[in-house]
């Protein structure tokens, strides 16, 4: 039997939602009939709007999809102005204030406290500046991710940006692909560093060389061939994802595709998912479960037989052995710092702790991007920002700007490595408070814990639940929201996983210690780092250190402990209307905006 969500989608979905959304915005939040709210809230997701959690009725999170994290000149300013004007609500965050933008692990932007009545004006401003919320959420093509410096990166094998733009233009608003059984996450990467993180996506295109009839130009510098004469294109993987305690790495379906064929193969696989995915059980709906059931061979055979009208090539020679991003080993685990562009200019990656930036800082950064670069800014999957096109002559002055004291190109490893999801501040699914907690963790670790001198990156990802929006399974230290009892009372707690990372041989974290009370987690990490520093082999990475110990040994290293770290959010933050409010009980929740 179809689910409620499928029934709602069958009535109205996709582009058709917009007219009703605008009518509700015009008539006011209360004009949505009580018995239709759940259906409309589900549909609004397709236009990037999530109704916030209980206690915050009438307020929405708005997600802006920025393909590949590319914000063209002027677009960051647009985001900052919208955040400043519209993303203010009754809850004030004690660390971040009352208007901010969140940069996400899928290179998108999230704003909170958006009122329905403001949506048409926001859409008008976004669309006038080439931005959109279309399909940022919901059961369809989500924001396409990749190496954020595509087209500029000195390590690039092929420029994936034109491919991503074409996919975005083809599949956003495309009625044939607007209603899928579940979300559809696509990664297209042309760089040799693995920064597209294709392994954890539903569909991944990764750079690969192939000897094909007609051949390539061979050894040229514009990215369409190599010295052997092989053509560069993409290998295809399907069925990765981290959610629901069922993490999967995308499976190799033995297909190589030239850039001009990517839309055909992507559309074919999207249609295959549309037609064969499970619409009766949303927990089993993601394509990773279909790949589990069918196997990679059957996916390929079905794609060939039913969805493309040309002969698929077998997989080409990949560059996975060169992957460094999020591997925990070697250089360039992230894109922080100053890096060469292939045009001789520089891109500068700046650390945005847990991805959250105040609206005024967003506007200041837009100013700096215009003053020192081209005005363009890009977003990474580690919740950081990258200012591109900075010439050598302007580099020192840019790096001296006061704003970069806070958003540093050379941060402490604990600040640099921190990733956190939204958490109970706004999210219905999360079990614990996350963003502010990860900020407190990072600050305490920076002040109290020394990594070995040769270790300058240490990734800690905090996710509030098993949905895994902070991608906890691919961090050095993975933290996942849980509950436990301390002195008999329920408290917020975290499961601790270790040793995750991507690369040629990706590895999900091993959950070695369960249910650590949140206030004992910094002490646990301090003890873990001390054991690592004391017992590692010379030059050994943390990931390698974890790999050569069994779970019991690692559990002993973790050793939770109370310290002078204080956690103000140990109670059940979900029972509050807003966890940081002075009067936080549900009874003190603000009225809906329409009731003002």
């Amino acid at each position: 039997m179809p689910t409620d969500v499928e029934n709602w989608k069958s009535e109205v979905y996709g582009n058709d939602i917009r007219d009703r959304l605008f009518e509700f915005a015009e008539e006011g939040y209360d004009s949505i009939p009580d018995d239709e709210r759940d259906a409309w809230f589900e549909r609004f997701k397709w236009w990037g709007l999530y109704h916030q959690r209980n206690g915050q009725e009438g307020y929405f999170m708005m997600r802006i999809g920025t393909p590949n994290g590319v914000l063209e000149p002027g677009q960051l300013r647009t985001v900052g102005e919208i955040a400043d004007e519209y993303a203010r609500g009754p809850g004030v965050n004690p660390i971040f204030g009352d208007a901010y933008a969140d940069f996400t692990t899928r290179q998108s932007i999230q704003l909170h406290w958006i009122e329905l009545s403001d949506v048409p004006a926001i859409f008008e401003k976004l669309e006038a500046n080439g931005l959109s919320t279309q399909q940022a959420c919901g059961d369809s093509w989500r924001n396409i991710v990749g190496n954020p410096v595509a087209g500029k990166d000195g390590q690039e094998v092929i420029d994936a940006w034109p491919v991503i733009r074409e996919l975005n233009e083809t599949f956003k608003g495309n009625d044939d692909h607007a209603n899928l059984p579940r979300k559809w996450k696509v990664s297209v990467t042309g760089s040799a560093d693995g920064s597209g993180q294709g392994d954890i996506n539903d569909l991944a295109f990764e750079p690969a060389y192939k000897a094909v009839e007609g051949g390539g130009d061979g050894g040229d510098s514009d990215g369409d061939g190599d010295e052997s004469g092989d053509v560069v294109g993409f290998n295809v993987r399907v069925g990765g994802g981290l959610s629901r305690n069922e993490p999967r790495l995308a499976r190799d379906i033995d297909v190589w595709v030239p850039p001009e064929r990517v839309p055909d193969v992507a559309g074919g696989l999207s249609a295959l998912f549309r037609d064969y995915g499970d619409r009766e059980d949303r927990y089993n709906a993601r394509v990773k479960f279909l790949v589990d059931e069918w196997g990679a061979d059957e996916v390929r055979e079905t794609l060939q037989a039913e969805y493309v009208d040309f002969e698929l090539e077998t997989a080409g020679r990949d560059v996975r052995e060169e992957y460094t991003y999020n591997t925990g080993e070697g250089e360039r685990n992230d894109l922080i710092g100053v890096h060469d562009q292939k045009d001789g200019r520089n891109f500068v990656g700046l650390n945005v702790l847990v991805g959250r930036m105040g609206a005024s800082d967003v506007l200041d950064l837009a100013d700096l991007a215009e003053e020192y670069g081209s005005g363009e800014v890009r977003l990474s999957q580690r919740q950081n920002v990258i200012v591109t096109d900075v010439p050598d002559a302007a580099l020192d002055d840019f790096l001296d700007e006061p704003l970069l004291d806070h958003y540093s190109p050379d941060p402490s490893p604990f600040m640099r490595g921190s990733v956190a999801c939204t958490g109970t501040e706004f999210c219905s699914l999360s079990i614990v408070e996350t963003k502010n907690r990860q900020v407190r963790f990072a600050r305490w670790l920076k002040a109290n814990v020394d990594l070995p001198d040769d270790v300058d990156e240490f990734h800690i990802h905090l996710s509030g639940c098993t949905a895994s929006c902070a991608q906890p399974q691919i961090a050095d230290v993975s933290l996942r929201g849980m509950k436990t009892r301390k002195d008999g009372d329920p408290v917020e707690a975290l499961d601790v996983g270790l040793g995750g990372g991507l690369g040629e041989n990706p590895q999900f974290a091993r959950w070695v210690t369960q249910r650590v009370p949140a206030d004992e987690v910094p002490g646990a990490i301090a003890n873990l780092v001390e054991s690592f520093a004391g017992e590692r082999d010379e030059g050994e990475s943390f990931r390698a250190f974890v790999a050569r110990h069994d779970d019991d040994e690692l559990d002993a290293f973790v050793d939770p402990e109370e310290t002078d770290y204080e956690d103000p959010m140990m109670h059940n933050t979900k029972r509050t209307w807003y966890p940081y409010a002075e009067n936080d009980s549900m009874e003190d929740a603000p009225p809906t905006p329409a009731d003002d």
Binding site: D38, S428, I431, A467, M482, K483, R485, A493, K574
Partner: protein, 101 residues
């Protein structure tokens, strides 16, 4: 009188008559021998899988973890409240809940 029951927000809420009534992230005491060997499981409710009704009792199947022993899994039908006269009354959070297999 018909009672509208739904699992919403990807399993975060049980909705009764279009009102979000029961949330994830609570700790429930469960008599659930199929889930773990604890005399009483101390279950973190992580996700609602399905919702139904048995007479006037609203029930849900729940994915979660017993914090006493670490066992994870999906329960049988667990009572979450009653509907009387069209009004839903949730079970007290401290109540011991018996799983119907």
């Amino acid at each position: 009188m018909t009672t509208r029951l739904r699992v919403l927000d990807d399993g975060a809420w049980i909705s009764v008559n279009d009102s979000r009534e029961v949330r994830v992230s609570e700790l429930w005491r469960l008599d659930a021998p199929d889930l773990c060997e604890c005399a009483l499981a101390d279950l973190v409710v992580e996700n609602f899988q399905s919702v139904g009704v048995d007479g006037s009792t609203v029930e849900a199947r729940v994915y979660g973890q017993c914090i006493a022993c670490g066992a994870t899994g999906t329960t049988g039908w667990v009572p979450i409240g009653r509907v009387r006269g069209g009004e839903f009354a949730g079970l007290d959070r401290s109540a011991v809940r018996r799983v119907r297999r």
